[in-house]
């Protein structure tokens, strides 16, 4: 009797365990199929958020694609910008790869090296549609791994009201670091020993390096240049903005604050056209843009472009390529001008920058910078680049934190360490 009862419980528990496994499996497989019975194909595209307004508007482009292509649905999957690459690689390793993926140029080489992107070289690409040099941005060693959706660059956005109040003339398109520093000093205001208004929100190290002809690793990926005289000078200048001139907040002063520019706590900010919609909507002051101030290399800035790739593991390669074409040379290129102010990469829209939606008065300076080749590629497409950048950044953070008294020594040290570890010049 007792034995029988035991066996009954045993069978029951085995059934429970097995059924748990079964539901586990079937649950995940129906997830990835997406459509749930109908024939619809659902494409997942992994994207990051530039700002809340941009993300909302981004969806309209996908809606237009869905309308044009019945039977294909597009789902955006979000990841924060600084965790983005980890997320994509983890999804890829876990067999849950999104069909399409936005790519940060600094991680492009790593993605190709890890073999997670589809080679698009044999696909039908309308090569004549693009502006010069755009296709090349999506190529690694001659193979096409991504198509570009927008190609632009960073500028400085500035608060005109603050400039007026401080009696500082508006910056000119050919201004220099000295001009910038002089303006930033006048725009920084203190009250009771505390800074209540900063001249600059955060001058990205990467842009300082480009403006001065420096960088982390040379564009051919062969040599470490973070300890070149130009790089040292640029990093020192960035540290001085914070620690010597006090025109930019320390990480302590800005910790926990987001967008000090919009909040009226900083007079200038790094800004790309993708920020225009958000700024136009939320700024309670007059604002405009201007090219970045010139270091030794002139009024140049890092090329900021958006390659989009197709995951190698996609089950819907044709549909995915259809969407990619729509975004990078199709109707998406026309739509993005009027929604998210993303600079188009196709020839037919090359004159649209100044009239893009939410374009500030001096948008023509952006058009001029792009047309005159004032943008610099500075993320070599080598597999190790993301890792190298990850190792250099903490050193620069530390220089900015500590006041940069031994900038040169610290940079030489990390540069030599990286040369040794990655076998570079």
């Amino acid at each position: 009797m007792g034995k029988k009862k035991g066996l009954g419980i045993l069978v029951l528990s085995l059934i429970l365990v097995l059924s748990a496994f079964m539901t586990g499996c079937s649950g995940s497989s129906s997830d990835s199929a997406g459509g749930g019975g109908s024939k619809d194909v659902t494409l997942r595209i992994l994207v990051w958020n530039n700002n809340p307004e941009g993300t909302k508007l981004e969806g309209e482009i996908f809606k237009a694609f869905e309308k044009e292509n019945p039977g294909i649905k597009v789902k955006q999957v979000y990841a924060p910008y600084d965790k983005f690459n980890d997320k994509f690689l983890t999804m890829s390793a876990g067999g849950d790869q999104p069909d399409l993926v936005w790519i940060q140029p600094a991680a492009f080489g790593q993605f190709v090296g890890k073999n997670v992107l589809m080679d698009l070289s044999d696909k039908k690409i309308d090569k004549d549609a693009y502006m010069p040099n755009v296709l090349e941005l999506g190529q690694v060693k001659g193979k096409q791994y991504a198509l570009i959706r927008d190609a632009s660059t960073f500028q400085l956005g500035y608060n005109k009201d603050m400039f007026d109040a401080a009696g500082v003339p508006y910056p000119k398109d050919d201004w220099t670091w000295d001009d910038f520093l002089a303006a930033a000093k006048k725009l920084t205001k203190q009250k009771n020993g505390k800074t209540v208004q900063f001249g600059m929100e955060n001058f990205y190290t990467n842009e300082l390096l480009v403006e001065n002809g420096g960088g982390f690793v040379s564009q051919d990926g062969n040599s470490v240049i973070v300890d070149s005289p130009e790089s040292i000078e640029a990093i020192q200048f960035g540290s001085d903005l914070i620690n010597k001139h006090h025109v930019q907040p320390t990480s302590a002063q800005s910790q926990g604050l987001s967008n000090m520019f919009l909040a009226g706590q900083a007079a200038m900010k790094m800004m790309g056209p993708w920020d225009w919609a958000d700024t136009a909507k939320n700024a309670k002051f007059k604002w405009d843009v201007v090219p970045l101030p010139a270091g030794k290399a002139g009024n140049v800035s890092a090329a900021a472009y958006l390659p989009i790739g197709i995951g190698k593991g996609t089950k819907h390669p044709e549909e995915a390529f259809k969407l990619l074409t729509f975004l990078s040379s199709g109707k998406g290129q026309d739509m993005q001008i009027d929604t998210i102010s993303a600079v188009p990469v196709v020839k037919r829209n090359s004159d649209k920058i100044e009239t893009m939606k939410n374009a500030p008065e001096n948008a023509k300076s952006l058009a001029a910078s792009l047309a005159n080749g004032k943008t610099v590629m500075n993320a070599p497409y080598i597999p190790e680049y993301a890792e190298i950048a990850n190792k250099i950044q903490p050193v620069i953070d530390n220089i900015n934190l500590k006041g940069g008294k031994d900038t040169e020594k610290q940079l030489k040290k990390i540069a030599d360490q990286i040369r040794k570890e990655y076998n570079l010049k």
Binding site: G6, D86, A93, K114, V116, N390, P394, D397
Partner: protein, 294 residues
């Protein structure tokens, strides 16, 4: 009869056994194998022998940095956590009105998800407008950059961990309540004061709970990850001073995709924790009192 009981015993724990072998032992053995390869998480794994371990010990300064950070955090954090939790439990074991309310208040922080409490502490420790510096400033004490300072980031994380001492407190409370009142009465008759009662009755009688919390605290402390990840925005700064061992392991596995290397790190941590736990059993094990002792 006995045989069928044994059979039933194994049958009853079968679900657990299946789970253990599929979800714990299996992956562990797999990761041991992986630690001898250059597996990247994607693609194939090539056998590299002891290369990963060699690189760890001889070429990787971050391995030593992260190990030191973790040991520092453990050496100061665990004993402090034990003392604070125990003292709270002793106070909250008294017979006062609204005791339930007080117990709830002190236990609540340990229920707050780590990510949420870490975000909260970022604001508390904000050097410019955070409440920590405001209080110090009010008493004219020197202020600090807390989470942004190389020297203070680990102490700050220890302070954060003390906020969650209520978790251990509940276990102590249970232990304290199981101390028979007769012992205290006997000691009082012999003229023992408060402190003597505490030291000679309360502490020894609850030594098993303290020991339990010590081991669990140590294991948990060696695996600190989430708090450090959140307060340093995922980079272990400033200057790698909050890069703890598991944090570094995570970076290697999921940021740089060096799964083989990360597996080697994981196995070294396993061995470290094992050694520490064995040492504790050797040192304290005999001094611990269990009610069911022979």
């Amino acid at each position: 009869m006995n045989k069928s009981r044994t059979f039933l015993f194994y049958m009853f724990i079968l679900p657990w056994l299946i789970g253990f072998f599929i979800f714990t032992a299996g992956p562990m053995i797999y990761s041991l194998y992986m630690s001898f390869t250059d597996f990247s998480g994607l693609g194939t794994a090539n056998w590299v022998g002891l290369e990963n371990y060699k690189k760890l010990f001889t070429e990787d300064p971050l391995f030593w940095q992260s190990l030191w950070n973790t040991i520092f955090y453990t050496i100061f954090g665990v004993p402090l956590g034990l003392v604070v939790g125990y003292m709270l439990a002793v106070l909250l074991n008294a017979n006062v009105k609204f005791m339930g309310v007080f117990r709830t208040i002190f236990y609540l922080p340990s229920l707050v998800p780590t990510v949420a409490s870490s975000l909260l502490w970022i604001i508390i420790f904000q050097p410019d407008f955070g409440i920590a510096n405001a209080i110090l400033d009010f008493f004219h004490l020197p202020t600090s950059n807390w989470l942004l300072s190389e020297e203070m980031v680990k102490p700050s994380l220890i302070i954060m961990s003390l906020w969650g001492a209520g978790g251990g407190m509940v276990i102590y409370l249970a232990g304290l309540q199981s101390v028979p009142a007769s012992l205290y009465e006997a000691a009082e008759l012999d003229g023992a004061g408060r402190f003597k009662k505490f030291w000679h009755i309360t502490v020894p009688m609850t030594s098993n709970v303290i020991f339990f919390n010590l081991i669990m605290g140590l294991i948990g402390s060696f695996q600190i990850f989430t708090q450090a990840y959140v307060v340093s925005s995922g980079n272990g700064g400033p200057n790698y001073k909050s890069l703890f061992y598991v944090f570094y392991l995570y970076q290697d596995a999921f940021k740089f995709f060096k799964m083989g290397y990360a597996s080697a790190l994981a196995w070294i941590l396993f061995i470290i924790i094992l050694i520490f736990t064995l040492i504790q059993f050797k040192v304290f094990g005999r001094k611990v009192y269990y009610e069911y002792d022979e």
